[in-house]
């Protein structure tokens, strides 16, 4: 199978999973013991006629499977339903909130990769030396500390106490500088980074620590590989071995981990956005949960799961592209 066919194949394979997710969220959402109409009305006085009207409007008087099929039909056309609480279409809500979440998650990843890989390599190279010990302890703390707690501490130290960085919100690079009263794109860019820094570290620390541990292990293993011994025996400089021979092989598992950890990062975004007051999907999810705005909850769950599945597919393809041994997984 060629890479293109493999890509198509992987996306096709994801379809049943996405359908499964839609069933799962739909069933979960309809487990709500409360009467959805009452929830929609949120205490507003309503007579029987009004209730029936709402039920008919949202099709709540029909059997579950029919409603599910309707929901699916809508999904296919990009219609994810309607937010009772916000009186807007769910698709529209999600579209307006997905940007900040992507910005946050991607920058957290950028931070994690930019720090974990060099640190992991150096630690592997200097195995059991002080640098290794310190970086292992840092990584251990990183995987053991709740991201939201890191966020809280970062806000207290760097925003409130030292006043170096903003305590909340993001500056969206896709908006014009005038929106924020910035003088030109340089300030706009600087402000974007300044606002991103703390939430990115809060969300990225766990990723950094995880990747650093994997990177270190992989590099150690790779450096013990026969091909490294061979390269050394042929006088390849240590630097080249580290950067090319050992590195390239060690990165393969990292690619997989990056994809799989997207799950943690997307979940963590809920907490990070909450702590840093970022208007992303995570905050929308939290609000929707509190308000039991169930079409929004379903929509976000679908979108986040889809993002995860796509992320995994992308990393799988990247893996297949980089590792010549992968036979594009016809069978297990």
């Amino acid at each position: 199978m060629g890479l293109l066919r493999y890509t198509t194949y992987r996306f096709a394979q994801a379809i049943p999973v996405l359908i499964g997710i839609s069933i799962l969220t739909f069933v979960l959402a309809n487990l709500t013991p409360g009467d959805p109409v009452r929830l929609m009305l949120q205490g507003v006085e309503a007579d029987q006629e009004m209730i029936e009207q709402i039920e008919a409007q949202y099709g709540l008087d029909r059997p579950l499977y029919e409603r599910y099929l309707d929901y699916m039909a809508g999904l296919v056309q990009g219609d994810m339903g309607h937010s009772f609480h916000r009186n807007r279409s769910v698709s529209e809500l999600i579209a307006s909130r997905i940007g900040p979440t992507l910005l946050l998650v991607l920058s957290a990843y950028a931070f994690a990769l930019a720090t974990s890989i060099p640190l992991g390599i150096i630690a592997a190279k200097r195995r059991n030396e002080p640098f290794d010990h310190v970086s292992r302890i840092v990584a251990l703390i990183g995987v053991s500390t709740p991201s939201f707690w890191i966020g809280i501490m970062l806000i207290l130290i760097f925003a409130v106490q030292l006043g170096w960085l903003p305590s909340a919100g993001l500056v969206y690079p896709w908006w014009s500088p005038e929106t924020y009263g910035h003088d030109g794109y340089v300030e706009h860019f600087v402000e974007t980074i300044r606002h991103l820094l703390l939430p990115m570290i809060a969300l990225g620390t766990l990723q950094m620590a995880t990747l650093m541990r994997v990177e270190r292990t992989q590099m150690i293993e790779s450096l013990q590989g026969e091909y490294v011994k061979l390269a050394r025996a042929y006088g390849v400089p240590e630097r080249t071995i580290l950067r090319k021979h050992a590195f390239q092989v060690a990165q393969l598992p990292i690619i997989t981990i990056v994809g799989l950890n997207l799950s943690t990062a997307l979940g963590g975004a809920v907490l990070t956005e909450f702590v840093f007051n970022i208007n992303g999907l995570g905050r929308l999810f939290y609000d929707a949960i509190v308000q039991l705005d169930y079409q929004v909850i379903m929509g976000i769950t679908m979108i986040i799961a889809t993002m995860f599945v796509i992320g995994v597919i992308i990393t799988d393809i990247a893996y297949a592209y980089i590792d010549p041994r992968v036979t594009y997984g016809e069978a297990e």
Binding site: E226, A233, Y234, G235, V236, R325
Partner: protein
Amino acid sequence: MSSEPLLRVENLKTQFFTDTGTVRAVDGISFEVYEGEIVGLVGESGAGKSVASMSLLRLVENPGEIVGGEVTYKGETIFGLEEGPDGELRKRDDMLSNEEMRDRIRGNEIAVIFQDPMESLNPVFTVGGQLREFIELNRDLSREKAREEAVDMLREVGIPDPEERYEEYPHQFSGGMRQRVLIAMALACEPNLIIADEPTTALDVTVEGQIIDLVDDLQEKYGTSFIWVTHDLGVVAEICDRVNVMYLGEIVEQAPIDELFYDTKHPYTDALLDSIPRPDRTVGELDPIEGVMPEAISPPSGCRFHPRCPDAREVCRRVHPENRVVDTTESAEPHRAACVKHDAFDVGYDESPPLEKEPQVTSEPDADTEAGVTGPGPGPGPGTGTGTGTGPGSSGGGGEGSE
């Protein structure tokens, strides 16, 4: 064979410093390699052959370290120690620096063929790319030149369609083909010496034969010297000129190939020979060596082979024999062996009572022995490692309880 050897190894010692004690993987070996000859380094797994060969390139990995001896290649010192002003051993000034080793010796003077062709090639780079990289590096060729050379070399080692296969990845090659690639790699760098570390062990017998024939041919053509590391005396018999037999970090017998096979001087070599099929004997006579080789972390006292030796006597437990000339061949080459039963030793072997057959020394050391071994520590220097070794108690119940 010229008078000046290409490579001279004298009293080389390489040790591993682990949590559980010091492992004397190579414990004072000496041998020479002359231009154009194939020298065998034979022994069971764990005898220290591979460590010895990697020591020649100063590629011993942590926690291992070369702690003593001298390695000279073409008159240049690859490794050598001298005594400093305060009595400490330090590296000699004329010893090649790490950079010199890397740039001048490894690859372009001494190349290596590793044991495991499946693992030795980097799985994520093309075969040709790896070959080209080494050629480029060691022969100062341009990229294009190196590529041409690589393709030629692939053809030379018998890989069909070398142009196409150049672009393929190692997993697309069979084991034998990969080994050919490794041989191509070694030869392409045009070294004077190739260390072949069990190059055929991982291959099946027919492929092994082809590879050996290939090496034989190529060696003749290029005149490269080889150190052929193997546990298989059969292979040695086929291609080697001279042989060193290693046991537990030491060379126990050293002789030209014919003398070794037909005038064996060490019981261990005897035992090895008995354990392999030979054209002059029937399979029924095959005789495996008794017991398992002890770990180098706690070698038995006296002669290290004595717990497994059919000829062992009481004296063997006490006296540690170094490798001595016990005979001279017709071509005036010495035949060395480290066994006290030869007259050259004169430590009273004949009078000594034989040791009774004993339960084998197991390879699993118990905690007590480990503790005892760490005693001598890393203190290197000539003399310490040999002699009576690690002293009483080190070989545990094996020898002493036996009497």
